[in-house]
Symmetry: C2
Subunit: 210 residues, 2 copies
DNA sequence: ACTTGTGAAGCATTTCACAGCC
DNA sequence: GGCTGTGAAATGCTTCACAAGT
């Protein structure tokens, strides 16, 4: 399954949820292109990887496609996650409103800083990261979120692996090594800023060229 | 210039900074592969887009390559950014430690919520988002960060465009439309979680198959 | 007439293989 | 012997073109 297809599925879901909320019954790939700026042929090809959902001459049934994609991505069941790192970022993620109407639920937050352990944060209490493997037997999180500085990222990842998570979302600007059956996605704000910095360049160059 | 190459440049920079800090003089593409898990041929091909930096039989001069790449990405000068949205996320970004030893500096934070405007946040004061175009004449930010809910994302982006930014980092889970000479990068935590959710699936399936 | 699904073509990126240099 | 830079081959993804369905 192509990784780019997977990333776009998330866009399709967002679009379909919105359409469903608007009470729209049917949608064509061309109509989705208008909303998402993803070519209609791309949309059809992506969806064709999972089956035949559309009807020629009509389009896709919004509700039906929404349910199918939700199931394919396993978003029809609760997905529990734990956060390692109770700093700014960990705290912001825990309080993030984007998870309220989603299957994702943060069930634990951990840190290695003794002055933080035991303190309440939002609806949880910060736990000792060394107890993560033990406590996750109860918590049952499949997803681990690394929200620690780069220097501590590998250690945090190791602890999550030991705790039995199947997937890791890594916010630290560092490469983390994990067994190959564990999925990792990196989110690196600094990297995104650096890429933007490069793109700005071209506009500057045009100015300098005058 | 291939977009994937650009994204990897950021990894090379991080690696080189670390090597420089360790006092390493020279590094081979094979040695970088060991640290970054990026194939050495890929590294060489990427670097070859910008010139010939290495010496056969020796490798790359760490300091020299670091300086070159830093310049290529325009990270040798201050890059000012403003944030729109003073909620959890905006606040976390403003307090984010990752920018301390970097060229990025957040010079303003804006919101449309009257109860927030005028309040101090870290080292700044929250400003009215409607004054963004006017105030950015002074602030001079080239980068805008969208840290508002999805429903307000387009409006925030419009305001940033009017304020004259050349690049936008969008944290809202929404498509934003901007003039094509303005670079946009999306960071969508929910999307990343959804992709991980899909990948977890395979492990579950194996279990279910028994 | 309108729209899907899909093989085939086209394009982009990665990987290979090796000539040339230290 | 070790390493870079790079054409060429291989792979992967996107776009095209159109047959088939409504």
């Amino acid at each position: 399954m192509p990784e780019p297809t997977l990333a776009r599925l998330s866009h399709y879901l967002r679009c379909l949820r919105q359409l469903a909320a608007e009470g729209v019954q049917t949608v064509s790939s061309a109509a989705m292109e208008a909303r998402l700026s993803i070519p209609s042929t791309q949309i059809r090809k992506d969806l064709s990887h999972f089956g035949e959902f559309g009807r020629p001459g009509i389009g896709y049934d919004v509700q039906h496609l929404l349910e199918h994609l939700t199931e394919i991505m396993r978003l029809d069941r609760e997905q529990r996650a734990v956060i390692v790192g109770a700093g700014n970022l960990g705290s912001a993620l825990l309080g993030y409103g984007g998870f309220v109407n989603s299957p994702f639920r943060i069930v634990g937050i951990f840190d290695n800083n003794f002055s933080k352990i035991g303190r309440p944060l939002w609806n949880l209490e910060i736990q000792d990261v060394h107890r993560l493997p033990e406590l996750n037997k109860e918590l049952g999180a499949d997803i681990g979120i690394v929200a620690v500085p780069a220097a501590a990222a590998q250690e945090a990842a190791d602890m999550l692996v030991e705790a039995g998570v199947r997937a890791i979302l890594n916010f630290a600007p560092a490469v983390i090594n994990v067994p190959k059956d564990i999925a990792v996605r990196d989110v690196d704000v600094t990297r995104e800023m650096e890429i933007l910095s490069f793109h700005i360049k071209r506009a500057d160059d045009a100015e300098e060229a005058e």
